[in-house]
Every structure is written in C-alpha cells, then in structure tokens.
Amino acid sequence: METLLLLLLLFPLATAAVNALAGGRLPRRAAEALACAGVLGALAMAAAALILAGRQVFDVTFLSWIRVGGFRAAMSVHYDPLAAVMALMVTFVASLIHLYSVAFMREDEDYRRYFCYLNFFVFAMLVITLADNLLFVYLGWEGVGFCSYALIGFWYRDPANATAGRKAFMLTRIGDVGFGVALALFFYLFQNLSITHINAHAAALSPALATTLALLLLWAAAGKSAQLPLTVWLPDAMRGPTPVSALIHAATMVTAGVYLLMRLFPLVMLSPLALKVIAGVGAVTALYAGLAACVQWDVKKSLAYSTISQVGYMVLAVGAADIVGGMFHLLSHAFFKALLFMAAGVMIQALAEEHNIFKMGNLRRLMPGVALLFLGGSLCLSAFPLLGGFFSKDRILLATFLHPEWSYRLFWGLAALGALLTPFYSMRLYFVAFRERPGGPEAQDLRRTPKLMVWVLWPLVVLALFDGLLNLPGGIGKNFLGHYLAVVPGTRPDLGAPPALEWVMGLGSAGAVVLVTWLTYAYYRRPRRGLRPWLNELLFEAFYLDRLYLAAVVRPCQRLSAFLWRADEGGLDQGLERLALALFRPYRRFAGFLWTKFDELVLDQALVRAAEGLLGVSRGLGFWTTGRVTTYLKMLLLGLTGFLVALALRWYGW
C-alpha cells in the first residue's frame, strides 16, 4: 500500500521532471507519451489502491520533512475513502485530458513546457488530495496555484493572457493568506499540523476559535474554488488552452477548496455559525454565477460561470453538513464539466478559434458526434431527470431543506432558483450552437480536428450520464457512495428524509427541469437576440464585480503608487513640501486670513527649512554612496578593523 501511494504521487512528478530536464532531447512523440504515461500510471495506482484498500484507512509517512524544535512536518499521507475517490477522479479525468491535449496542442511548438506544467499540476493536486500534514497540503496548494498561473498565461505573448494568469494568481493568493493564517493558528493550538490529529482533537476547541478557524478555511476555499467574493478570476482564466480549462477550472483545481473543507469537516462542523456562512456563500454564489452564465456569448465563459455556480452547490452541501452530497456532486460535475469543456474545445478548433455561440449554429448537422457529446454534457449539467447531475444536486437541495434552521430555507430558495437557471443556460448553449441557423458555418468552413479529440470524450459521457448510479436515493444501490464514505468522520450516509418529502422534491425538480428545458427549446427555436440591454449588460458583466474591484482596489493602488513615484521623482524635499501644502491648505482656509501671515512666515518656512535640512542630510549621505564597490569594501574593512580593535581592547581589559 505504501508503495502504491508513493508511486501514485511520484509518477506525475517524475515525468514532469524528465520532461523539464531532458524533454528537449526527446522526440516530440516520446515527450507526449511520457507525459501521458505518468498520468496513466498514476491512474492505475489510484485504481489499485482503491480496490486494495476497500474501506480501510491508511496513514503513511514517507519522510519527515521539517523538524525544528517542537515543530514537526512530515510528508505523510492520510488515505481514506474520500481521498481514494478524489484521487481516482483526478487521475482519471487528467488522463483523458492529457490524451486530448496531445491532439489539441499538435500545432504548438511549446508542447514541452505545456506537458511539464500539466504533469506537475496533477502531482500538486494529488498532494492536496492525499496529504495528511497541512503544510504538505499547502505545498500542493501553492503548486496548483503556480501551475494554474503558468497554464492560464500559457500563450503569454498576448498581454491579455498574461494578465489573466496574473489575476488568477493574485486572487487565489488572497485566499492563500487565509489558509496561511489558519495554518499558524492550527500550529499554535494543536502543536501539530496533521489533519487526523486536528480532526481528532478539534472537539476541545472553544466555539469562538472553531468559528475563526472554519471561517479562515472558508476564506481559503473561496479563493481556490472561486466563490464570492473571489470569483472574478475564473471567467478570465478561460484564456488558457481549452484542455487546461477542463483540467484546472472544471475538474480538479476549483474543487480543491471544497475538498479541503470536507477533509477538515469535523472541525468545521463544530461551529454552526461558520456552517451557516459557508452555506450562505455557496447558495449566493450558485445563484449569482448562474445568472451571469445566462447571457455570456463566449461558450467557455458561460461554462466557467456554470462551474462557479456548481461549485457553489458543493460549498452549500458542506454548509448543510452533507459531505456525501458534496462529494457526489463533485464527482458528477467533474465528469460532465470536463466533457463539456473538451467538446467546446473541439468546436472552437473546428471553427477557427470562434468562441461566440451566436456565430456558430448548424453544428448538429456538421459535427454529429460532438453534438451528441455536448448534448449529453448539457443534460447532465442541467440535472435532467435520471441523468448524472440530477441525483447529486437533488441530494444537496434536500439536505439544505431538511436543515432545522430557518436561514437554510432561504439558502434552499436561492439554490433552487439557481437550479432552475441551470437548464436554461446549459441548454441555451446547445440550442444556439448546434441548431440550424441561416448564414451559419457550412461544411467548407470547418477545419479538420483529430479524431482522438472526440474519442477520449466517450468514456466521459458514459460516466457523466450514469454516475447517478453511484448514490441512488433508493432501490438496490441505495446510497452506495454514502456507505462507502461512511468511515470518513462527519459523514451522514443517509439524510433521513421522510420518503414522501423525498418523492415530492425529486418529482418537483424533475418536472421543473424538464419544463425549463422545453421552454429554452421553444425560446431558442428561432435565432434570438439577448435580453433587455441594461439587464443583459448587468448580467454579462456579472454584476460589475470586476469593475468594482478595479475601481475600489486596483485604481487607488495605481494612483497612490503614481503619486509616490511622482513625489520620488520630484525629490524628497519637494515631496515633503507638497505633502505639507496638501495637509495645510484646508487648515489654512479654516483658520482664516488672520493666520495667513503666521502660517506662511512660520509654519511654511519651518517646513521648508526642515525639508532643506533633510535635503542637506540626504546630500551628505549621498556623498558616501559612491556606487563603487571599492569604496564599500574599504568602508567594510574599516568597520571590521574598528570592531576587532574594540574587541581586542576589551580582551586586554582596557
């Protein structure tokens, strides 16, 4: 078991290292094969580990990493069913994405860098998935952040792409601050950063501390999982290559935040307030991103907002204390969202980088295979009855509804509203892009895309359509996933809902989804423009959150730095003088003209004198700053001599 887990982590890391160091000397095919082999190897290891482990829990320490005083951090792994399922999902989706990338990046010369980052990304994600020590988790957390930055800005020659990469990095970094503070607090409280230790001893915490820690973790998760208020990086992250969007922003990275909350759920669970905040953030994000997804014309952006919305449901599930539901939705979402992204990638490449769905059309006739795949993915995303996302989303809504607190009814309402929007925005993509449109692209406009890009999607669509079987609410396979995860602390395999309520909720949501799907079909039967302009713009800009950040944070910072720069340019004394003037002008007006003389003669002069004095001092100091190495060396030696002389004098007792 140790070997399996070690190999699971080392496979992608090793291939990333080989590609980084020796990839240039390998032929292209070999480098690609190596990258794929690394992930496929990890997939084999993950599957073997899952089968061998059953429902057991393994704690393995590979090596002790840091040992300073009382501080211990080991590279250790806590392998429980939750990690097993997650690792299997990550490696599986990543393997398909690697195969897809081989075809997708066939014309890119920089394939080496690409596959190296991609492999390293999988490694970092597996570290987050498996690690027991929170510092080790943090290593993976930062690795994932770095790789997402490098991959979003992969085509860095376009400044907009590089900016999008930086934006993702900065915003997830804001979340990382929360995680860092939480780490320090954990160490202070527990003298130990092991997840198992923390979960076992969390009950001894005072409610206030538990709330603080849980909220810090939520802050970290919001950064990684693009929850409000840190959502804005994910739509921009769509500037990276499409397989990257599928890997990072659909299947794995955005779920890291939710996964962290699930891993530390016994701690989060202790604070009802934090749970309420988590549920609120999830529900509001689900609705907010759903609204924004409704009007996007860029197929990838629409999918990005739908990702934010779906991750919102997972966060809501954690808030409603149902991590089985959260994990279930995480799994089904990973399958259908990776499927949708990769199908969109095929469409975009076939139409010569056309992202606008309103310029697409006719694709069902032109690309029947992709149309079937995309339809499958869209139906799963919209939680069409009996397909993939239906059972998982229903379970989350049910868990929220069953919560005794009244505020959860409100969250349930928000989430249900978001769930009604989901079929609209997902089926809208399908209807607009695939149905007949006069003047749309014709067969001669299409570029050929490799067949491999479509082949790898079939396993995904099968899984996406049928993964509801994992955790049926009734029947033979009732709560299979729930019982499998039961050893994870804090899980509730069965929600204990009255059967009547369960039936009403299920049938109600099924009916609503079918109705909305039909309405969408009817609405988009003819080519349509958008909604009313102001509403359209409000939703398109996602309630201007981006602009708000720009105006409230970025601009003032730029202005301040520009001011400081100017002050610096004008010299220290001028800056001081200007500062003094700026400070004293209102004061002077207030005091009236009686004070003018005193002010001008005494205060201003005093300040000018002070500034002149400072200028003189700085000139004097500047004289010594010759910029020459020899001067500095001489000064250093002089100082050293003086120091040694002083020591010698003390030695001889003078």
């Binding site: 700053t625 010759t626 910029g627 020459r628 190495v629 001489k634 030696l637």
Partner: protein, 101 residues
C-alpha cells in the same frame, strides 16, 4: 600537532589581511574576486587548524562546505564579470557606479 596553533592563526590572519588589501586596493573586478577568495580560504585555514587543535572533526567538515559554496559563488561571480565585460567592455570596478546616490 607539530605546528602550534598560534602559527596557523598568524598565517591565516596574514592571508586574511592580504586578501582584504587585495580586495580593497585593486580596481580590477577579477582581482577583487581573488582577494575575497583568499579571505575565505584564510578563514578555512583557521578552521582546519582549530579542528586539529581541539580534535573536533566538524571544523573540517565545515571547511568542505565552505569550499563547495565558494566554488559555486565564484562561478556566479565570474559569470557576472563576463556579463559586465560584455556590456561595458571594462572590468574596472570604478566604472560601475550606477547606484550612486
């Protein structure tokens, strides 16, 4: 130990001062680098002597580390000097005063 420790220390001190003078007085960047290296090695010599004097092996281990680090540092320094030489065609330390206040 045949050679008394004080002699080793005197030699090391002399070397150190020589290196320091070389680093401070010369203008040639390469000579400055050599002077710094001599100072480092003087410190190493003192350490080896001390480790013999007190029969403590860690002093010698320390010197091996210093040598390894010094080798790495010299390679970086030389690379910088080559870069400077290519940029301004001069290895005179006084011709680099961009940081003048």
């Amino acid at each position: 130990m045949i050679v008394p420790y004080s002699h080793v220390l005197i030699l090391a001190g002399l070397l150190f001062v020589l290196g320091a003078v070389c680093a401070a007085a010369r203008r040639n960047l390469i000579m400055i680098l050599i002077g710094v290296e001599i100072m480092l090695n003087a410190a190493g010599l003192a350490l080896v002597g001390a480790s013999l004097r007190w029969h403590e092996l860690s002093g010698q281990a320390f010197v091996i580390f210093i040598m390894a680090v010094a080798a790495a540092e010299v390679s970086v320094g030389l690379a910088l000097i080559v870069h400077c030489q290519r940029r301004t065609a001069s290895v005179d330390a006084n011709s680099y005063d961009l940081m003048k206040g």
